[in-house]
Symmetry: C2
Subunit: 228 residues, 2 copies
């Protein structure tokens, strides 16, 4: 297999590259991430690949099974609920903080993000739009200037991307950018109360758009499904 680029890969860059591929659903949940495959693909040794996979497993993006290998995580319905419960605890208050600390530069960043979301949707690149939608949430945490909470939210957003890949019901994603626009309005007014409320309902909307009723989750492959 050809190498991906002539770039000199480090653990961090490999993690970032893999994470992006997972978030954009180029590596759907359940995909096996063989160490040899990855080391060949990146043109590096298994040592770095293993470190990268270990790092991703700590963020619950990759599931490590002893002597079996690494797989893109397949969050259970329970995981999905828990992730959104955690987001409900963290994000609304963080959005409030962000609103109070909002600057013109920060607003520009958020506006640009929303614009990119629109462009991606117009181009039919839904997965890329989803990725950018996640970036929007992480950016808010960054603006709130809370590194610790930001890292938690970042992990939760990433896991949400997997959850959406598995349980997304509606196909129309318009509600998404609509909510982001409303949040932007609140941020422009530096209205903390509104931002907190909007984020709260935005998350509830998201959760409501998932289909978490079924006992069986769509397996990425028959093999994996039967291994469970």
């Amino acid at each position: 297999m050809n190498e991906i680029a002539a770039k000199s890969w480090t653990r961090e860059t490999v993690v970032a590259d893999l994470e992006r591929a997972i978030l954009e659903h180029r590596l759907p949940p359940g995909t096996k991430l063989g160490e040899d495959d990855l080391s060949d693909a990146y043109g590096i040794s298994r040592t770095i690949v293993r470190a990268a996979l270990l790092a991703l497993s700590h963020r619950h993006l990759v599931e490590l099974r002893r002597n079996r290998g690494a797989f893109v995580a397949q969050p259970s319905i329970r995981d999905a609920r828990e992730v959104f419960e955690a987001r409900a605890l963290l994000e609304p208050r963080t959005a409030r903080s962000a609103a109070l600390r909002m600057t013109d530069d920060s607003l520009d960043i958020l506006r640009a993000n929303i614009r990119q979301e629109h462009d991606a949707l117009d181009a039919g690149e839904n997965d890329r739009a989803l990725f950018l939608s996640g970036r929007f949430h992480v950016e808010i945490a960054r603006i709130a200037d809370q590194t610790t909470i930001e890292s938690f939210i970042s992990e939760l957003i990433s896991r949400s991307s997997l959850i959406i890949a598995l349980y997304w019901r509606r196909r129309a994603a318009l509600c998404e950018t609509q909510a982001h626009h409303a949040l932007l309005d609140a941020f422009e007014r530096k209205d903390g109360d509104a931002a907190e409320q909007l984020m709260k309902s935005h998350l509830l909307d998201l959760l409501a758009s998932l289909d978490l009723r079924h006992v069986s989750q769509p397996p990425a492959s028959l093999r994996e499904a039967l291994q469970r």
Copy 2:
């Protein structure tokens, strides 16, 4: 150097052992964790040690510096504030959930934990008491049956232990067990409101007992201090 035990160490057990040593302040903030030292101490190769250190760095218990080595993390004053802000967002609501789901078995676990805290304090083992005090908080998250939030809280508690090691002001730790007793009362009554409120003020008390005014944090060693 002699090996610690004849045990066959895995990455997980090494992580757990190191984490406990850090939480009980046998490895104070700033301590250098040389890979060769650790591999000799545990009687394993550096491969596993490196994986363990990487895992601990993801929990912010260990700081990895490229080509310099691993050190027990020294949270900054800003880190300290952020950790307690995150705890304030997560723990009160989690205590409420725990109160509503409380069972007799869970109560027994919490009571036993408090008893151990007392025993440790009576025996003058303050660091062990601190470790157990942290366990109390994690146990509450476990009872709330929220694995995702539990893992966040677990990380925050561990970091709090480092923060307390660096910034603890009072020497009397009585307020600690007092607050835990009050929480237990609320849990026994399955009083979610009270549990949430008590946890909230408990965290504020904790934060207030820290000395976060100074610009300079006590360096664990002169060398490390000057390296910054």
